[in-house]
Symmetry: C2
Subunit: 303 residues, 2 copies
């Protein structure tokens, strides 16, 4: 017996399509309904076949669904929430996958009916690829999903959403939205901003050609280009919607970088050595906890 009779996935990109693949793998829903605002994406999703029904109209898609998951860029949530508010089924769970949570609560809450359980969520998983072809069933396996339920929300609904994400292969944590936004600012948003920035700096140097940057990228740069290849719309929306937390960690980053910059200028080898040494334990813990591979160069050298 499936966990849900019908789930609705709004937005069929990397995350939406991966949820569909993983829900089917886990037998979590009798019907997986999908919607995308783009007719082209809808058409491509139909060819791949990870949904049982596809809907050009978002209202049709959510009708009778016991679980509705917003998987569009977060900048589109407000419009979508307004469009579906009349069609949401009584007792349904409304959730999402956005990388920011405070802004999502701000934008979506006003459109959530009294008898619908709104539980924001964020799976910490992804790749640098976008679109319905990018999804795959194992994307969430072993990763963490964070739920940020609102104060006073229904505990059974939270338990059910937690079981759903576990069924998709994920581990699940619960925290409040503002803590989520700060944690993700340092583990995800700042690294992406820095990666985009360093690729931009390399691009703009007059004395080093782009050909040279590409040829010698194995010395470190190439890893940043992977992160900087992520979807621009999604990332624009994240930075527009997590401004305070991003500016807070960016301020700390800049202070720390000023210290390293001065050490380079002054030739302070002891400070550099100590700084480079003390953080190696973090890498070790990430590997021990199954959040990354222990193989040199992420295993790339084996080809």
């Amino acid at each position: 017996m499936s966990m849900f009779d019908k789930i609705a996935i709004i937005g069929l990109g990397l995350i939406g399509s991966s949820i569909a693949h993983a829900a089917r793998r886990g037998g979590l829903a009798r019907e997986i309904a999908g919607h995308d605002a783009s007719p082209d994406v809808l058409d491509r999703a139909g060819k791949i076949g990870f949904c049982d029904s596809l809907h050009a109209d978002v209202g049709d898609c959510v009708e009778d669904a016991q679980l509705v998951i917003l998987c569009t860029p977060v900048g589109a949530y407000k419009v979508v929430a307004e469009q579906i508010t009349q069609q949401l089924a009584k007792g349904a769970i409304l959730s999402d996958v956005g990388s920011v949570k405070g802004a999502v609560i701000r934008d979506v809450s006003p459109f959530v009916p009294q008898d619908v359980h709104f539980i924001p969520a964020h799976p910490i998983a992804g790749t640098e690829f976008s679109g319905p072809e990018a999804g795959f069933a194992s994307l969430f396996d072993g990763r963490w999903t964070i739920l940020t339920p609102l104060p006073g929300g229904d505990k059974d609904a939270v338990a059910k959403l937690k079981a759903f994400w576990q069924g998709l292969g994920s581990q699940v944590d619960v925290m409040d939205s503002s803590h989520h936004d700060l944690v993700l600012a340092i583990t995800s948003h700042l690294p992406h901003l820095i990666a985009y920035n360093i690729v931009g700096t390399a691009h703009d140097l007059e004395k080093v050609t782009e050909g040279e940057v590409i040829k010698y990228s194995a010395s470190g740069f190439r890893d940043f280009t992977r992160i900087a290849a992520s979807d621009p719309t999604m990332w624009r929306d994240i930075f527009l919607n997590n401004r305070d937390a991003v500016l807070e960690v960016l301020g700390r980053f800049n202070e720390d970088l000023a210290v390293l910059q001065r050490a380079v200028r002054n030739g302070d080898g002891q400070l550099l050595f100590d700084f480079f040494t003390r953080n190696r334990a973090v890498r070790k813990a990430i590997i021990e906890q199954g959040q990354d591979t222990a193989e040199p160069n992420f295993g790339r050298n084996k080809n």
Copy 2:
């Protein structure tokens, strides 16, 4: 017939041991002699067996060698060069693998006898692991090695060293040392400094625990921890010896970051979107030229 009767590798860490493995694979030397200042490393190298002879005395190691390659951290070059200057064979090639080239020329040149060909070199390859156990024969396959011969140097010796690196599996470029140092400052030194810095910033945040940083690292952070796990001594020496170029690109990086920071503060979505979009071509070119894998997440999702 081997390319060289005897080659000497000074320093048996990741790069030194990989050269030995690859030289043996390619049949490039009749004898591979090795030295390391650490008795422990020498002992471990003996157990692995990638050298034909091991020498506690660096002078013994280079005796009669037609090719001597310095593979210690660059901060040790000056001392080593002084130690071997009397034993270097007439007509030998003296080279290295250091990530900076101007400082290496400054430190080593004074000790190079008239009848020895000093040709600095830098293979753009590596992993985040260190030590004699970390080396493997295919490390240089398809990567680039940059030679920075001194003005007026012997062309035949350069051609011979080029053929040696090609025999190790590498592609070879030639440029002057100051251009090398600027190119590597942007493709390698700045990315490493930034990666070390961001791991440090995460470590120092009071409101986010290290456990959280580790659990949610798959959102971007984990890639930086791999780079920041590189050898601290090696990286201290790089920053001490490429100060001007690093400060130049770091200044540019800071200017660019200030623009992004202001865009985040002002909510300038168009600027962010354009910035995030325009550099995707670099990633594509890196993959097309075989300098990185095209697989999502470097292929890590497949396990």
